[in-house]
């Protein structure tokens, strides 16, 4: 069976529309969404309404949680004072714009989803604020998948898609202590994968196209999909609706609007 997994729509209705059309053409039978439906983009309500109307299983993203609780993004994800100011402006705008029933929908989203040997989280199983970057230490990456008791971990949050395969993992351990008999332990893990599905609405891979993933549960084949759409419409809406105008330029360049995932060793404590 083919499933489609998408994430980080960020109020970009045009992009979502194009992705849903592509998913249809790819003949995926089920869709999963990894959160961040709102934030930065000009149509948060339309996006939430669409997701709800199609009954797409969705887990909570960091922005969804923050909007519900009235918080701002974690400081550690802003690379500069300028980015922080822009991010706060986007939060404020989204707070004002979001309808109550959509906020309530976001409030009841679960932390993660699962199906058979697949799990779905926005950031990581541990936290919505953790960036699982491709350069993350391989053993830490393996720990994240194993901690969720899964073979494949789907995640988003970084806005740049990738497929990471972790194979033939092994560790040799020796334990001893007071009142503890010395023993040698040999640990091994079968093949695991982390699949980052990128972002529909705020791509950061240098091009404005939306990205998402098609996964075949029978063959385990992964397809990183890149979907062009009329991003100029989103740019125009950003400016017209009073969001920081620079977002329109950054969308066209495929750059992050404000938050950036920089350091693969950083573990966000929030």
């Amino acid at each position: 069976m083919k499933i489609a997994v998408m994430s980080c729509i960020h109020g970009n209705y045009e992009a979502l529309d194009a992705v849903l059309l592509d998913i249809d053409q790819q003949k995926a039978e089920k869709i999963f969404c990894l959160g961040d439906l709102v934030g930065y983009g000009p149509y948060p309500n339309a996006v939430v309404t669409q997701i709800r109307s199609l009954d797409i299983p969705t887990c909570a993203g960091c922005w969804d949680e923050d909007i519900v609780e009235g918080l701002n993004s974690c400081e550690c994800s802003y690379p500069s004072l300028l980015a922080e100011k822009r991010g706060k402006a986007a939060h404020e705008w989204t707070h004002q714009e979001l309808h109550d029933e959509n906020r309530e929908f976001l409030a009841q989203l679960p932390h993660g989803l699962s199906q058979d040997n697949l799990v779905f989280f926005h950031g990581s199983p541990q936290s919505n604020h953790e960036y699982l970057l491709p350069e993350l230490d391989a053993f830490v990456a393996l720990e994240r998948v194993l901690s969720a008791n899964a073979d494949v971990l789907f995640c988003g949050h970084t806005h740049v898609p990738y497929v990471r395969t972790l194979d033939t993992g092994s560790l040799q351990v020796r334990v001893e202590g007071v009142g503890i008999e010395a023993k040698e332990i040999s640990f091994s893990a079968p093949m695991k994968r982390i699949i980052n599905v990128g972002s529909v609405g705020e791509p950061r891979h240098g091009r404005p196209n939306a990205t998402y993933v098609i996964y075949d549960t029978d063959t385990q084949e992964v397809s990183l999909r890149e979907v062009p759409y009329d991003y100029q419409k989103t740019c125009a809406a950003i400016i017209e609706k009073g969001l920081p105008a620079i977002f329109a330029w950054r969308l066209a360049q495929g750059l992050e609007y404000a938050e950036r995932a920089d350091d693969p060793t950083h573990v966000c404590t929030r």
């Binding site: 053993f139 194993l146 990471r164 993992g169 092994s170 040799q172 351990v173 334990v175």
Partner: protein
């Protein structure tokens, strides 16, 4: 002068602490640092005396480096100064009598001192902490999975993690390991690479005050990476707690 003495779980047991200090003195100037990884206080009437003893080392004694532990956290919560968490588990686990004893045993001045303690220490390539960097509650034991141990070491880029939450004295050595990793992105494919670990370890430093008559602590040589677990037996007749009519079950 090349060893660290690392203690945890004194839990207010002054007699046990004195026994350990005497043993450290017997190491004849080999110990250059004294760490106390939390659970300095505990629900004992002499907890305040212990704090005073720790904060005022005698001539020739080392100034202990103290970080927060589980009991410190619970005490702060009781006084409305906790960063998060509730005291519910404290009541559920130990009962109301213990909670009251904890409240009575620790002065407000000491509570302020506890508040300003570090969460842990990072020295050379070693992390010294009560639980883990994720939580003061987290318990690392000989049964913890190797990947979890490695994760906690990686978070601080440490080669050795000293902890005290489990109260056990153990050395958990990750001697080697490998994993093959490959990445595919929209525009590229990074071919398979093998990532290996360099040897690292988690050390449970034992517990000083919980077991009457027996204190365990750890001596560590940073230059030789040698770990020694010390078990000190002391006279319990001087120990207030074991003579008290109400015994607290841990």
């Amino acid at each position: 002068m090349n060893k660290w003495a690392i203690l945890s779980g004194i839990e207010g047991n002054l007699v046990a602490y004195e026994a350990v200090l005497a043993d450290i003195k017997h190491q004849i100037n080999q110990v250059e640092a004294l760490y106390i990884l939390g659970d300095l206080i505990g629900p004992r009437p002499e907890a305040e005396n212990l704090v005073e003893r720790v904060r005022n080392p005698r001539y020739g004694e080392l100034e202990p480096l103290v970080c927060k532990g589980w009991w410190e956290e619970k005490c702060l919560i009781l006084h409305g100064l906790g960063s998060n968490g509730e005291a519910d588990d404290l009541v559920a686990k130990y009962g109301g009598e213990t909670v009251k004893l904890l409240w009575d045993s620790v002065s407000r001045q000491t509570v302020q001192w506890l508040r300003n303690l570090d969460f842990g220490f990072f020295e050379l390539d070693c992390l010294l902490i009560h639980g883990t960097t994720v939580s003061v509650d987290a318990e690392l034991t000989p049964d913890t999975s190797p990947l979890t141990m490695l994760d906690h070491l990686s978070r601080m880029q440490a080669n050795t993690l000293f902890c005290g939450r489990s109260a056990l004295a153990f050395q958990y050595q990750l001697q080697g390991g490998a994993v093959t990793t490959s990445i595919a992105t929209l525009d590229s494919q990074v071919p398979s690479q093998t990532a290996k670990i360099s040897p690292c370890q988690v050390i449970g430093v034992g517990n000083v005050g919980r077991t009457p008559g027996e204190a365990k602590y750890t001596l560590y040589s940073p230059t030789t990476n040698h770990v020694e677990f010390r078990t000190i037996r002391y006279d319990v007749s001087q120990d207030f707690q074991s003579n008290a009519s109400t015994k607290v079950a841990f």
